[in-house]
């Protein structure tokens, strides 16, 4: 019997256990950021938190929207919205891998009875102007975590570097609960994951693949981009970043809708990256001017 099986029975137990584990290791427990995004990396607590010289440790859950991954709720593990558990450690401690493995044990995975591999996977986000080096972590050959040493964010070389741990919460919960479909997961003792999410998966898949009005979404993209630029000019870096996130999500919707050609893709990505770069540069300027911590 796995040591933690009793304790971590539900999806929310898993989140709470990770919160405890990382709180005890000096992390700020942050909340999901309330703007739509494709990954926890886009949360300002990561994007801005990785910039600048100050140490920063943060952990939070991020509901991550990936329109193209939608399967109308018909695929047991492929989801339009999945939950990432995101940890940032800046600078990374030398025993970071052991710390990470410790968190798996903490939530009830017996590492001596399973197979854990760190398999090369270099991460890159062209829209954020960010890249890093690291691994996918496989548990019995199921991918459960992306483990990345960020090298650049917003086009800026990071010093110190940060480690980002991105746990796939549904995957880990599937493993812990021994079920094969995310919709079968116990969210709480009384409520199933599917009861909360299934209809949303269905509706958003229809929306993203069939319904979204391409012209209107394109216009929304233009508007968000213009708004971001205006904020940047006014020296308002955080509002500018929110609108950059809108751009990124609207781009993803257009992509799922099949409305973006190869050539357009590059130019859309470049436009978002430009905004992200400008946000990063303005944030660093702000840090300098204030000579004080302005935490993400």
């Amino acid at each position: 019997m796995r040591s933690g099986e009793k304790r971590v029975r539900t999806f929310q137990d898993l989140v709470l256990a990770l919160h405890e584990y990382w709180r005890d290791r000096g992390c700020v427990i942050f909340e999901p950021y309330d703007v739509e995004k494709g990954a926890g990396t886009f949360n300002p607590a990561t994007f801005f938190g990785c910039l600048g010289p100050d140490p920063w440790r943060v952990a939070y859950v991020e509901p991550s929207r990936r329109p193209t991954d939608g399967r109308y709720g018909e695929n047991p593990i492929r989801l339009r919205l999945h939950h990432q558990y995101q940890v940032i450690l800046k600078p990374p401690p030398p025993d970071i891998q052991d710390l990470y493995l410790g968190s798996l044990e903490y939530v009830g995975i017996d590492l001596r009875e399973h197979d854990v591999k760190f398999s090369e996977d270099d991460w890159e986000s062209p829209t954020l102007g960010a890249w890093g080096v690291g691994w996918q972590v496989w548990l019995d050959e199921m991918e459960i975590t992306q483990f990345t040493y960020f090298q650049q964010m917003g086009g800026i070389d990071l010093d110190p570097v940060s480690v980002e741990l991105t746990y796939g919460l549904e995957r880990i919960a599937l493993f812990l609960q021994g079920v094969e479909s995310a919709f079968e997961l116990r969210w709480s003792e009384d409520v199933k994951y599917g009861e909360i999410w299934h209809e949303k998966e269905r509706q958003f898949s229809i929306y993203n693949f069939e319904q979204a009005d391409v012209e209107r979404i394109r216009r929304m993209f233009e508007l968000a981009e213009a708004e971001a630029r205006a904020c940047l000019e006014a020296g308002l870096v955080f509002p500018a970043y929110d609108h950059t996130l809108h751009c990124s999500h609207l781009f993803n919707v257009l992509d799922a809708r099949g409305a973006i050609s190869v050539a357009e893709r590059e130019s859309y990505i470049a436009r978002i990256r430009e905004l992200a770069r400008a946000c990063a540069q303005n944030y660093l300027k702000l840090l300098e001017e204030r000579r004080a911590r302005v935490l993400a």
Partner: protein
Amino acid sequence: MPEFLLEVGTEELPALDAPVLAAALARTLEQGLEEARLPFQGTEVYWTPRRLAVLVRGVPERQEDLVEEVRGPAVVVGLDADGNPTEAALGFLRKYGASPGDLVRKKVGDKEYLFLRVRTPGRPTGEVLAELVPRAIRALPCRKTMRWDSSGISFLRPIRWLVCLLGGEVLPVKLGSLEAGRVTRGHRFFGPKEVELASPADYVEALRSARVVVDPDERAGMIREAAAQVEAEHGVRALWTEELLGIIVGSLEWPAPVLGEFPAEFLDLPAPVIAAVLHEEGKFVPFARDGEPAPVFLGFRDGKEDERGYVRQGYERVVKARLRDARFFFENDLKRPLAERVPDLRGVVYEARLGTMWDKVQRIREICARLSRYLWAEAADREEFGKLLDRAAFLCKADLTTEMVKEFPELEGVMGGIYARRSGEPEEVARAIEEHLLPRTRADELPETELGTALSLADKLDTVTGAIMIGEVPTGSRDPYGIRRAANAMISLVLRKGLVVDLFDVIDAVAEFYPRLPEGRGPEEVKSFLIERLRYILRDDHRIPHDVVEAVLAVPRGDFSGLLERARALASLRGEASLAEVAQLFERLRNITGDHTETSFDPELFQQEEERELWRAYLRAEGHVRRALEGRDYVGALKALLPLGEPIHRYFERVFVMVEDEGIRRNRLSFLRALLSLFLEIGDLSRLTT
């Protein structure tokens, strides 16, 4: 004599990089030791995902002393009239701590100098190594580097510990924030965290007890052995690829086999689909029984047998879930015949300016129509060939709209073939679709069938032509459309199959099907881009000497196989004196004809015997050359040209070409120009360096 051990402890290195880095580390250490006059008996190289290690056997305790003769001032400067050292010589002696009695006189050229024999005592080996090791680690060739702390060190993955032992002693080596010691680390889950090494000789066995097999060959042996056991017990054959074995060896410190099974109900899936699932989800080894997929697979856990079967359960669950997905896709895809999907390609964007995949397919068909005039044109069933090729071209991209290919992009083409067969298309058509992406790279396997070859050529030619016509010419490392790779693969297909086809004719013929844009390019740029790729392939893949490549490509042609054959002919005769002579005369021939392009001449206007002699030689050669070229016998053509060297030489000695009389002059120039043209059938021989 002591042994030396260096171990660089890392976080998990990418599976295929560790062996390259370990070999490089050994090489740098070996070179460093040799340069430092430290002969050793041999080295052993070990690595796992978490360590690179080099064990050097039989290192001397210290360097040999170095005795060098050092030159000081000239005798006239260093010694006064009485033969006593001057201030200059005394300074020289002070520098090396020597006395006047040590000075030796020696002549260099016609001048005499004062010399000292200077002995530099050998340094202890440990000192030399302590300097060498950090340099060797920093010099490791990483394809990508990262930083993990602020020490300024960068590497492929974080370096976390160093072991550096000479005999029983720890060498004082520092790298960034790390100091070398004698403590290595055992297996992440099944070994002690720290393992102290008394001496280098203990390395392999100490780590074995810590559940780490440091010798990659031994790990490969364990893996093969496990697979062989499955083969024997289940009457199956393992489907290895070199890459799969490399990845497994490179991702484990102690391979422990875990045999999994999947339900036989999935065996009705096509073999490539099953293999794709097993390869994708964690590097499992697939097996076949009598050429058909078998419902077993072999995975490897790191460190320890899976006694309770939890790992096996996990593997089986992952594989089953993915096979279930795959079957769902397969059954959905089969609901429509492949041909019905073709119009859907109108909804798949290929490139904004080049249109949809439907447009691409139309262009591929146009190219195929031209190609079938060249390829296998002698075949009696040429019309049938053309029809089948067009059908295959029509269908070749339809699998892009299938669920399976969206999920497993590496099955593109292969699935098209399978679905074509299931839709009742002719077998030849199915095979051609299956093969039409081969070769993917210069070194990849080739299509086997003629239809597959033609279709592959057409597809790649469209990719390259399209991209260049819209102005997407690769620059530096920027090649977003992968044009270089496509062009390389296409040229490699032509050359390795020896296809006789004039690509330039085809490009001209289909140019009208591409958009003409202000920023776009024309067919000529497509041709020169292909010639550039050919230049590189001739040199790199076919080992044609640089000057021969230049000679042949100076006269660009669309028949790339012919260019390769010309290059081979030139290379084979490269050492011959007669070729060198012709090559020299070539330059003169070209200089004198200049921009004169007329080639018809009147032999009646020849005045000198040397002219007529050369004319007769020309006539003899021309017949041979034309016949040889027709038979694609380029050695024959070249050999027929070589005897022209002597008469040309005599001609230039005796005949003055640029005479006053315009008629005579023009006739002479036209004749020489005709002669030059004959040489140019092979290439610009003046580029030869011999």
